[in-house]
């Protein structure tokens, strides 16, 4: 068993990432919604690369690619995702897949290491059809009924139709084999500016925050925008705007130090310029790694809604539609990532929670899991201008491959 560090190939990693960027390119980023032509071509590209890493694999019945090794010894699963948000960045997802592929290329070919890295691209991490459908399916948490119900949030197309159109209807969904893997490791861009602003190279993820999502609905009275006196109105849109501002006023006193909250979507019904909205709806999200803070904020939301309803003229309803417990990352994996950072990044690492959700939180329900972050320029994410310097990409790959090696040799 070797104790020598193995080195990722910077040329190979950058070439692969740029090859994936060229599929579905949008400005300097990409546009690869789940099951789009660009997404499917990216998955095929990956399956064709697997043999170079001593792996075999195909696209499964939910759009996951999982490359498996026949090498003896411990197996470490590693990966991320290849689809993107609409008109978004080139590294969000592909970085983790290519690091995993590179780790497999370096480690699986090494006869002195007993064990192998297996590579996964999880489908729909970006939630076009749901949330984490690919990795949730792999850990056994997606039923056929869940798939029946899933629809593309942009087009409304059903997931069944989408699977049929890309030719995956008849394939089985691969699920985890208990005990096969010693754990799961994922790399990702930070999507924030902590590493960059602190001059650091690696984020060692301690936990992935839980995401709680709410549908907050406002019911007033639809009426004519010209003939209804201001005093007689029950404007659901105005009630919604006031609620957003009240959240902004009251949350800071009740939240935790790392809580974030976002109103990502607003719809007024019927949404015509000459009609007072009779109904309005907002999608509201809270993230924290501290469930107690979430409990306080959810109670506050309900109290605020009650007060608004009691005061009139509109009725407010708060409905929780997603409930995500925080996921702890394995502490031994955190130590191996730190040790790898000592070798390849002058120890410029920091332990930090992840404010974004990642497939690792799903894998963490069935095996030890770890994550590492590389810096994001300006902290920009989910936008086509998202970027990371080549130097940071390469350094991250070296740390990742070394962390994989260390995890395998410890087992």
């Amino acid at each position: 068993m070797s104790n020598t560090s193995l080195i990722a190939s910077s040329e190979r990693v950058l070439a692969d990432l740029n090859a994936l960027r060229a599929i579905g390119a949008y400005k300097t980023g990409v546009h690869k919604p789940t099951f789009s032509d660009a997404h499917m071509r990216s998955l095929v590209w990956l399956t064709e690369k697997l043999p170079d890493a001593g792996l075999t694999g195909a696209i499964d019945g939910i759009g996951n690619v999982i490359g498996v090794s026949s090498k003896s010894g411990a197996k470490l699963l590693a990966g991320s995702h290849l689809e993107s948000q609409n008109h978004a960045g080139w590294l969000d997802g592909p970085l983790g897949v290519i690091y995993a592929l590179e780790a497999a290329r370096v480690i699986n070919a090494d006869p002195f290491i007993s064990g192998a890295v297996e590579v996964a691209a999880w489908c729909d991490e970006e939630g076009h059809f749901g949330h984490f459908l690919g990795s949730r399916s792999y850990v056994g948490l997606v039923s056929d009924a869940d798939i029946d119900a899933a629809r593309d949030r942009t087009s409304g197309k059903s997931m069944r139709d989408a699977l049929r159109d890309v030719g995956l209807s008849d394939r089985v969904r691969i699920v985890t084999q208990p005990g096969r893997h010693v754990g799961y490791l994922e790399a990702h861009i930070e999507q924030g500016d902590l590493l960059e602003s602190s001059g650091l190279a690696v984020g060692v993820v301690t936990s992935i925050v839980g995401i709680w999502q709410y549908r907050i609905s406002f019911e007033g009275e639809q009426n004519h925008a010209g003939t209804t006196r201001m005093a007689a109105r029950k404007d659901a849109g105005l009630a919604l705007a006031k609620f957003c501002v009240a959240i902004d006023t009251h949350f800071p006193a009740a939240c935790g130090p790392r809580t974030v909250w976002t109103t990502g979507r607003i719809a007024l019904d019927p949404g015509a310029p000459s009609i007072i909205p009779g109904r309005a709806e907002m999608l509201f999200q809270i993230r924290d790694d501290d469930s107690a803070a979430i409990d306080r904020l959810e109670a506050l939301l309900h109290a605020m809604a009650g007060e608004v309803t009691a005061a009139g003229p509109c009725r407010v309803t708060v409905e929780r539609i997603r409930n995500g417990a925080p996921a702890r990352m394995d502490s031994a994996f955190q130590e191996e990532i730190e040790a790898a950072s000592q070798v390849f990044a002058d120890g410029k690492s920091i332990r930090m929670p992840s404010g974004a959700g990642h497939d690792a939180q799903m894998l963490a329900t069935v095996m030890p899991a770890g994550m590492l972050f590389v810096p994001s320029i300006g902290g920009i994410s989910h936008h086509w201008t998202e970027n990371t310097t080549d130097a940071d990409i390469v350094r991250g790959a070296q740390v990742f491959v070394e962390a994989c090696r260390r995890i395998l040799v410890q087992k």
Copy 2:
């Protein structure tokens, strides 16, 4: 020339209105977007009714129906519209068309009256493709380029495609013949609760308010909803909500006694639950019959936008996209409607401005114009529950026919 009152047939008026309600029925209202099958069948229904009123006419190249008379003497034009807002009321539009048709049936057949009522159904008063495209076309204010640019606000379909699909591409657009008409008279439901709450039967419209419309845009920075700290955010959606609330706070001190304002539509970009909106946009409308009040409010909007932009973190832009001067109704027409109300409604009429826009404001640019309102139950409008009692419908028809007669015999 007769000086005897002529009486509308209550059975005929109610039967016609119910026949139109049956075309495109939705609950107790109708769903007849412009150029929908239900709208087109309603127009055909009207053209088939014209001969009974001594009129001939067809659907023209923009979807207007104009029934003309060959009778000698003065001509009064009367009408309204047959399409509806989406899932809206059965009387908004059809009431005025059927009153006009009934006036033509009663008056045009009377050999003792020199003159005739001509009937119009103006296309797209409800603004699916623009605003008042039909009546504006008739008064000569719509260019071919305007039609090229028009799109259905719900489906995005171009007006050219819609005209082609309903077979109107090759028809000419009929325009007003200067001097042909002594004026234009239109009846409509009030769409407010003044008449009902005051126990009155007829509203004599003095003016139609101007409608000013604005696109207010907010520019922040699109980012990840999990990884971006609250303090670092430039949330365009939150800036929009704050702006709505600020309007609600500051407008009452600057507006006139009858000013109304409405935010009818809000869009966050990209509108995904896990992305901080980088851009947001609201459609904002102000209505008043007093241009000075509008000037004050528009200046206030710009001042507020300047303050928000200066304070940061988002940039606000206010763009006026529609500018509608108030239209005065002819004073002699107002007197004839009041006189007719003395005969048929025990004088239970009141002079009032119209807070809603109507085709009469377009006709008023080329001829004397008048309008009368009948009560709306609960003031409800642009919703399928919109309604008026049969008694009020019939009384309104009698007043309308008598007002038409009086206007014609004065000429």
